[in-house]
């Protein structure tokens, strides 16, 4: 008996073989969108690997954080590369997750029995944003300082629980070294734990239910099934995409290394041209455009409550849409999806055009 067989017998790999052999991916005109979940997963893997490397040099305190990142960028061999890939990959990850989410929405992949898959996906998306928000503060630079100030202030204006939530996030009333330490804890311990659990459920459900076929692409039961094997056919195609993503990351990191900026100073004014990471851009732009009072309600509160309700409706769409994905109700939600995409794209672009000033 050779080592491979010896291991197979002890690890029960036959069961896994069976799963691999059985897994199929439907082939139709929307198959392209199936690759985006895998792309998101790959970029998450890049984040885990580079994140672990960054922790080896990073020091989570107000006196040392900025200096440790500067040391990493200037003294450590390839430190600039690892950090730049981590930052770029974070941005591409949120982008890939958005594409994955919007395509799942438009193809109505959330229909029965995949409602929970959609909900866990929503949770994962929120976790990605939380990763982005908490990680942004860690270099302790000027932009990060104000981004965190605005971000936690927004949480602070949530009705009822806001002030408590803001204090809980900041570890006090102000953004201090204590906030930095806390965000580090969120970023490297609490969020990864939640992510692992939720991602595990999400991936399990995807295996359990198989890929959803969108309403327009369903075939008659009698027809021969249009599908491909996951291993090796789909996986090899996945790999091509991942390789391209890795190349893109290396290119972006080499051509546009992530800047460090100026060290945070609680007594400096907010620099002109300050803006958040692009994936918060549409919210930023909206908050900028809402007047201070709308019908007697504070504009900021209106925006925050609006975003909250919007996210809630978005998460609950599997229960609001038509179960078979057909008819006027299904069309209505398709229009909602298109409008949501338009809103996000247009408002994100407005940030970079300067918007009304």
């Amino acid at each position: 008996m050779n080592l491979a067989d010896w291991l197979r017998e002890r690890l029960g790999l036959e069961a896994l073989d069976h799963v691999i052999e059985k897994k199929r991916v439907p082939v139709h005109r929307h198959t392209f969108w199936y690759y985006w979940g895998g792309m998101t997963l790959f970029l998450f893997g890049v984040q885990v690997a580079t994140g672990i490397l960054l922790v080896l040099y990073y020091r989570p305190s107000a006196d040392e954080a900025y200096e440790s990142v500067r040391f990493l960028m200037t003294q450590v061999s390839f430190g600039w590369l690892i950090r730049s890939i981590h930052s770029w990959s974070a941005n591409l990850l949120v982008g890939a997750a958005m594409i994955h989410m919007f395509s799942a929405f438009m193809l109505k992949s959330y229909r029965r029995p995949r409602e929970v898959t959609w909900l866990t996906g929503m949770g994962l998306f929120v976790l990605c944003l939380a990763f982005g928000f908490s990680g942004y503060l860690l270099p302790w630079n000027q932009l990060a300082f104000f981004a965190t100030k605005v971000g936690t202030d927004i949480m602070g204006s949530v009705p009822l629980v806001g002030p408590f939530l803001a204090r809980l996030l900041r570890g006090g009333d102000q953004i201090t070294g204590g906030t930095l330490t806390r965000f580090f804890g969120f970023h490297v311990a609490i969020l990864p734990l939640c992510m692992t659990a939720l991602l595990g459920i999400h991936l399990f459900l995807v295996q359990w239910h198989g890929m959803s076929v969108p309403p327009g692409a369903e075939q008659p039961v009698a027809a021969p099934k249009q599908e491909m094997k996951f291993v090796p056919d789909f996986l090899l195609r996945d790999l091509v995409g991942w390789l391209a993503a890795l190349g893109a990351l290396a290119l972006l990191a080499a051509l546009f290394p992530w800047e460090l900026g100026l060290k945070a100073d609680p007594y400096a004014f907010a620099p002109a041209g300050i803006k958040p990471e692009w994936y918060f851009g549409y919210m930023f732009q909206t908050l900028r455009m809402i007047p201070s009072r709308v019908l007697g309600i504070e504009g900021e509160l209106l925006g925050i409550v609006g975003f909250g309700l919007g996210a809630l409706v978005w998460a609950l769409v599997p229960f609001l849409d038509a179960p078979d994905g057909r008819g006027p109700r299904a069309r209505f939600w398709r229009v909602v999806g298109v409008l949501a995409m338009l809103y996000v794209v247009v408002f994100t672009l407005l940030v970079y055009r300067g918007g009304p000033s």
Partner: protein, 143 residues
């Protein structure tokens, strides 16, 4: 009550109690301790000749930033530098005619009144004294 039911309820209650005993200290631990209220009511914001007319500086005032502005005629005024919208730190515009927050484009006049953009309230204004060579900023009475 059946012995079985009693045991089930007893076990569940014990489990819940145990979970509460573990969760309560963790929840309390996560909430940061209340820092004593910063009692600062007055602070030396600058030396008298530090700012040129038309200049400004951000100074620490009880854990928060304040803005000290020297007008064209040499007079001083001081306001809270915390934007009433989302808490960014404001600055004097280069033209010296308005106070501006770069984060969401909020605009105040030199009295701190919110003029345009998202800020919902005016900036708190402080009392300024020049004592010896120091510019002393003080919270207004009742503030």
């Amino acid at each position: 009550m059946k012995r079985r039911t009693f045991l089930d309820v007893f076990l569940a209650a014990s489990g819940a109690a145990l979970a509460a005993f573990v969760a309560y200290p963790i929840a309390r631990y996560l909430v940061p301790p209340k820092a004593p209220e910063a009692a600062t009511r007055r602070v030396v914001a600058a030396k008298q000749d530090e700012l040129a007319p038309g200049g400004f500086k951000i100074f620490p005032f009880g854990g928060e930033p304040g803005i000290l502005i020297r007008g064209r005629n040499g007079e001083y005024r001081a306001l809270s530098a915390v934007c009433t919208h989302l808490g960014c730190t404001v600055q004097l515009r280069p033209d010296g005619q308005s106070i501006w927050c770069a984060c969401h484009n909020g605009l105040y006049d030199l009295e701190g009144r919110n003029v345009s953009g998202p800020p919902p309230r005016p900036l708190e204004s402080y009392v300024v004294h020049v004592i010896g060579g120091d510019v002393v900023v003080e919270k207004a009475k009742g503030a």
